[in-house]
Amino acid sequence: MGEYKSDVLQGTLDLMVLKTLESMGPLHGYGIARRIEQVSDNGLSLNQGTIYPALLRLQQRGWIKAEWGLSETKRQAKFYTLTRIGRKQMAQETENWERIAGTMARFLATSN
């Protein structure tokens, strides 16, 4: 099940989370999951639960931080925010990802 996918998706998912938080500001887990689904236009068959280990991983690295707060519907939820390190790391991760994506694209183009 999800275990195999998460290996492949790990770095990608992390970057998606970071990008979501950068563009949307503080957001709770459900919000992040929905946002990723919407942006990817449901092209990713991702269990929403998978988001939580990723959030924890980013927290442990100190790239994001979490705080309990109230949602618009007055519901208790944990809100995630990008930290200063996270912002810096995101720039670097984005660059990494673009390089890999570029390489992949070139690779796929030539092998066609």
């Binding site: 639960g49 924890l56 939820a77 944990k78």
Partner: protein
Amino acid sequence: MELIRVLLSRCAAFFSRQRLDEDLDSELSAHIDFAVEENLLRGMTPQEARTHALREFGGVTQTKERFRVQRGIPILGTLAQDVRFAFRQLRRSPGFALTAIMTLALGIGANAAIFSVVNSVLLKPFGFPDSRQLVILRETVAEMANVAPTLPDNPKHYLNLRTQSKTLEDAAIFQPRGFSVAVENGHPQIVNGLVVAPSFFAVLGTQPILGRSFRPDEAAKGHDSEVILTWNAWQSYFQGDPNAVGRTLHMDGGESTVVGVLPREFSFPHLNLIPVAGQFATPPLELFKPLVLYPQEMSDNGDFNYLVIGRIRPGVTVSQAQSELQRLQQAYSIAMHLQTHLGIDVIPLTQEVTGSVSTGLWLLLAGIGAVLLIACVNLANLQLARAVAREREASIRAALGAGRMRLLQLALIESLVLALIGGTLGVLFALAGVRIFIFAAPAGLPRLNEVAVSWPVLLFAAGLSVATALVFGILPALRSMRADPQSAMQGNSTRVANTRQGNRIRSVLVGAEIACTLLLLVVTALVVSSFARVVTQQRNFDADHVTLAAVNLFNSNYGDTAPNFKAAQISFIDRTLDGLAQIPGVTSVAVTSEMPMAGESWIDGLTRPDHPLPESQRPMVNVRMISTSYRSTLEIPLLAGRDLEISDRSHAGNVLISAQTARTAWPREDPIGKHFDFGDGAGMRTVVGVIADARVNDLKKTANMVYQPYWENPRWRLYFLVRSPLSSSALANSIRAAIWKIDPQVPIPTLKSFDDQVSDSVATERFQALMLSSFGAAALLLALLGVYGVMTYSVSLRQREFGIRIALGSNRASLMLVVLRQAAVPVLGGIVAGLAGALVATRWVQSVLYETQPVDPRAITVSILLLLAVAALAAIVPARRAASIDPMRALRTE
């Protein structure tokens, strides 16, 4: 930097698990609530909204589990939990836990204990430098080979060998001696020691820690009043006085000056002049005096009364030394124009000391090795059976979101908990086992005082058993992981296949276990029946209610320098016999000149004047100096002629002989009234009576015996036999008082019941029989558990099948037969394999058997029947369970 932050965060999380768990719970439930809310807005029913939300989320439990793995320190976090769970599991199946733990503990403990003994006694070299270079020399005389394969050494031949040999670095002649040491305000004691050539300690490579070794000029008459003490003697006679050198010790009626004290670790084994089969308990050596060789001993026909220890040069092998010394002896025989052909027998010191016990100890080691093997097989079996039984549990866990590593970890922890408990108990058993072994072992076992637990071996046995527990705990877990949880839970197809495969492995294991057990049982039966033969055969004497009191007359009143010493000895014996007879409750008193049950001794060649034979063909007889009451006190049957009588005092030379002597010296003749002598110039003896072959030297064999009255040749060592219905302990004080009333200066080195002396003489055999019996019992118990375990699991797994069979009208007896037949396959296979092994192995144990054939149909039959009975017992319980299955319940539970 980042790594440290991650680690710190994980550690912090580890210590606040509970709060974080609650935190996660609320976060996830908030997530679901958001989703439900949104779904409701889209117009779903509450039911649909919730289902949809959960489906979108994926497994909540799996997420939590993966979250936890990411959060803390995975192993640490789950370790405590798994350990707790493992303990709960073990408590839930106490039968399994107890069996596995005891199997481990016994396997480890017994093995380490026995191996420690073998290691100390057989494998560890002596504490002398390069002790493997030390050899004991004995002479051989070709003409006497049929009487005595080896002889002690002649001093003249020793001097020749020592000066000529190129393979020996040095050699020293010595002789065991009992010294009478006067302790203040008491009666003298007999202390064991050696008289040694001055080179003795140099050969051993030992330096005294105080004072010096002997000087060459001290090996001369009149200059030999020096003594060297062992550490223990130094402590007990001089309280460890650092100025003990120069002080004197009152011994053998004179003064000896202490010149040296040996290091504490010095320990020289007790060696017999003639190699003997058994071991006899001997107190440690404490005193060393210079050996003085008298001119009359310096003759080629002089007594062969000494031993020689040599140190072979580095790089020279024992066989090289043997062939060189053999050549020297042959050259000497020719050069001196001897009538006899001398030879030599070179034996490494270690072999000399342990030779007679090594087979027995190796046998014990092999026996216990078999038990360890059986224990491991059993453990493997238990673990496998348990894994099969828990396959379903593992599937459910996997389905509920347990990761593979997590499942493996759980299996590992459970096995580890089991192994650690069993291993710890095993180590404790080993420590206790060595103590029990030392307590139960025959006191004559050499180097028993050096026996200690050998840690490498303990670790090996523990490692092996623990590894078995782990491997067979994890293997099935690995296999069950391969099974797809869905199909494992759904139907029985995979399970049945797995079970069959598992059953085959377990059947092979049970077969191996049965084979090992049978092998061990056959060997045990042989050793036990051999021991039974030793103790139950006709002894021709009665040791019951007889007390043995040894007295030594080594003091100046009786010494051969005193005038009329013979009269003094005779008078002492006469008065002591009278005095002992007057003790209330004593019915009969006798004396003999050699320690009973201590092997053959005082051996002379019997010569018939009417039928002279060359020296090499003369019958060798054991000579004993006895009182007239000896035969009647020990109740030895009189076969012909008459007993010795007081009136024989006036008819010198009247003797009794044993039936075997009569057969050997006067075949097909009536020996009564016949004459013989020992060629010693002491005159002609006349046979007046023939008595039965009493096994007074050795329960295992009879010997040629000649009994002479004590007054004709009184000895310095006397053994009084006191018959009384009172116990030996009740008599001890009166016996001592009676002897010391006659002479307070004589030591009494031994005072015990004759029965004890008899049982001490077969201590080695009894010990072997006892140890092997307990191994056999352990193996049998393990086999019982093995068969029982396999059959029980097999029955519980086939419950449904049996239910159907019963429902279809199969009768219960035939069901039991099905189970029993299943059990019979590995058992019978194991028996066949075990028999084949036994045929090979028993040949090897022959040397420890007494009048018992290694292929003994009775021993084999008894072992097989015993094993079959135990196996049947082990199979019948599960078979009954199979037959009593309630079909309705069995079909419903599946």
